[in-house]
């Protein structure tokens, strides 16, 4: 009989649920894909119920429900840091003590009440242990060094581990309030972007700037002997406040913060200044990660590195680590944010608490909700949406559309695990059209014009067009590393090449996603290049679409040309007109 473990992360950042059957992932989803609230942090009531449905089991069949951190230790950290910050922590104390005393302290009760678990089923992992497990147990390495870096978990903000046949062994850690993740987030806020969401923009902005302010950033965040780092807490506020992440001294150092929502041209004037700051932060972050990697390498003597935690989503730093760091092999958990903690918590429990041997967890891009072809057809019929049934030639038709300069929605198979769209819920276009970046940015995604899009390329052709450091092929399949667009192709693919010549490529193997692979090849047959522009299928501020009705409403809301919903092609003009209008 099969054995099941359910992992749950919630109540801080993005919440998620993951179900393992005999150690293999059968279902995994963030709650946001159900609740439609971007980065929803509420208990993953719907995601976990769906996981059980997907496996055809009930909660009673689950051996353990594993929460991804130790709530009481987190409470301790919050309490202690507010005491040390006395007397300026009153507002923070009022707010956090209230949410903790009314809700977060009682997470055990909530897990039982909301998810239907029995108290005897509950287990509690640790925040960084969950991250570490999600990286190590999903990696192909038998033995590896593991580095987890994020904002903060319980006390640790950075942890060094060794993973081998005995499990995960903690080596050393950096503790709150010293934090790489929170430092990066403080700059994210300073640069006028949303914390926990805009870090990508800082990274994109950095490419336009020059690192002129490294000395200043190093005042905020210094490296110390032994590979670690520390913050000068005079410049930061995250240990004292729930709303501010940097202090007045920080503003004196870097000048006025950028107003959110104002236009930003990173090539000149003020915009350039902010780009220079972003570039400096990026450089300092990379230096600190390199130092941590050196230390980890010295301590373990291993040549493979696994990473997770929000900072591991910094794909620029990941390349630097692989290129300039001591490790020859790299694995990055694609869901490196806290959603991935649900996966790691479950894996930790399976292997280290229940003592089960390592298995291939079967992590594929599509582990979320699925819609059978017939249900899509029936739904469209019932909605009076006209469509072309392209079940047999969807690849040819979609390739024709893309080659003709159309922007299409590609909704095929199960929804993605992790924050990136990997060819299941993607918006696709031809990257060689000069106007394409602008068009997709302005009319469809409403994004900042300075951010380029990512390319999906067949694994066979990846080396022809892109240059990824050795050992980066695996991460490139999950878009957790960047490469360079080769010099001779840069001009031809402006929409997917960043100002510094880099590209956040998505390397697609036939065995992993045959349909998407075939599509890219078919596009190649028409355009001469097996490369498509790939961005997540959603509007600004929305989570990735997970059901056909979301896809249709997205089609109606923006100027996409058509959507390939399973076997059906719906063009923009085929949607029914809205209500009174």
């Amino acid at each position: 009989m099969s054995r099941y473990v359910l992992g749950v992360s919630a109540l801080y950042h993005e919440s998620a649920a993951v179900l393992l059957r005999d150690g293999v992932v059968v279902a995994a989803s963030s709650e946001e894909r159900f609740s439609r609230q971007k980065q929803d942090s509420a208990l993953p009531v719907r995601a976990s119920r769906w996981c059980l449905e997907q496996a055809g089991i009930s909660m009673a069949d689950v051996e353990a429900v594993v929460y991804y951190e130790k709530p009481l230790r987190k409470f301790e950290r919050i309490l202690v840091s507010q005491l040390t910050g006395f007397p300026s922590t009153l507002p923070a104390f009022q707010r956090t003590a209230l949410t903790w005393l009314t809700d977060k302290l009682w997470v055990r009760n909530a897990l039982c009440k909301e998810l239907g678990a029995r108290p005897s089923q509950l287990m509690f992992s640790e925040h960084h242990l969950s991250h570490a497990a999600s990286a190590f147990y999903c990696s192909p390495f038998e033995r590896a060094a593991v580095l987890t870096v994020d904002g903060v978990g319980e006390w640790a903000t950075t942890s060094l581990w060794q993973g081998d046949e005995h499990g995960l062994k903690p080596l050393s850690e950096v503790r709150f309030p010293h934090s790489l993740g929170l430092t990066y987030s403080a700059f994210t806020a300073f640069l006028g972007f949303r914390v926990n969401n805009g870090e990508y923009k800082v990274m994109g902005l950095a490419s336009y700037g020059e690192p002129r302010h490294v000395d200043k950033v190093e005042k905020v965040l210094q490296g110390v002997d032994g590979g670690g780092f520390q913050n000068d807490t005079r410049y930061v506020a995250w240990h004292k406040s729930t709303v501010r992440s940097y202090s007045g001294a920080f503003e004196q150092l870097f000048g006025a913060p950028r107003q959110p929502g104002t236009p930003l041209d990173p090539r000149q004037g003020e915009g350039k200044h902010y780009a220079d700051i972003a570039a400096s932060v990026q450089v300092v972050l990379e230096e600190r990660l390199l130092a941590l990697a050196e230390r980890l390498h010295a301590d373990t003597g291993l040549d493979a590195l696994c990473m997770a935690g929000g900072v591991a989503l910094n794909v620029v730093a990941n390349r630097r680590l692989l290129r300039d760091g001591p490790f020859a092999h790299l694995y990055v958990q694609p869901a490196s944010g806290d959603a991935g903690g649900a996966l790691g918590a479950a894996q930790w429990a399976w292997h280290e608490v229940l003592g089960q041997p390592r298995v291939d967890p079967g992590l594929t891009p599509g582990l979320g909700r699925d819609w059978p072809d017939d249900r899509v057809r029936t739904l469209l019929d019932e909605l009076n949406v006209r469509f072309d049934d392209v079940a047999d030639d969807r690849i040819e038709r979609a390739a024709d559309d893309i080659a003709a300069g159309k922007v299409i929605g590609w909704f095929q198979g199960r929804c993605e695990w992790g924050p990136r769209a990997l060819g299941h819920r993607s918006i696709l276009a031809d990257p060689s059209r000069p106007d394409m970046q602008d068009r997709v940015n302005k009319v469809i995604k409403l994004r900042e014009p300075f951010r380029p899009f990512a390319p999906s390329v067949t694994a066979e052709a990846a080396d022809t067009y892109f240059d990824v450091p050795p050992g980066g092929e695996g991460p490139a399949e999950w878009m957790t590393i960047i490469g360079d667009t080769r010099e001779e192709h840069r001009e031809a693919m402006p929409a997917i090449t960043h100002v510094d010549g880099t590209a956040r490529l998505h390397r697609v193997r036939r065995e992993v996603n045959p349909r998407y692979h075939a599509l890219i090849e078919a596009v190649g047959a028409r355009t001469g290049r097996p490369v498509v522009l790939n961005t997540s299928f959603n509007l600004k501020g929305d989570p990735i679409v997970s059901s056909p009705v979301h896809a249709l409403s997205t089609l109606q809301s923006c100027e996409m040309d058509a959507v390939y919903l399973g076997p059906c092609r719906v063009a923009r003009g085929q949607l029914p007109r809205g209500g009174a209008s």
């Binding site: 089991i57 909660m59 202690v80 005393l101 009682w106 009760n109 039982c112 009440k113 998810l115």
Partner: protein, 68 residues
């Protein structure tokens, strides 16, 4: 396939779990590096229990506050 809908724990069990959590909390501070924090944690725990109790009777809670 059996019914996946949750069966909420009963009142007694709910209170029991909360007390269990508090027990762990006190143990964390009692045995850990910060025994001096115990009195404060105890005070906050009591407040937490009161708030949880008021949450359980949220419909009549506004009438209870004046009594506290």
């Amino acid at each position: 396939m059996s019914d996946p809908t949750p069966t909420p724990p009963g009142r007694v069990e709910d209170v029991g779990m909360r007390l269990g959590t508090l027990g762990q909390l006190l143990r964390l501070f009692g045995r850990g590096k910060r025994p001096w924090l115990l009195p404060l944690v105890l005070l906050l725990s009591v407040l937490g229990l009161v708030l949880a109790g008021l949450q359980a009777v949220q419909y009549v809670a506004p009438f209870i506050y004046p009594l506290l």
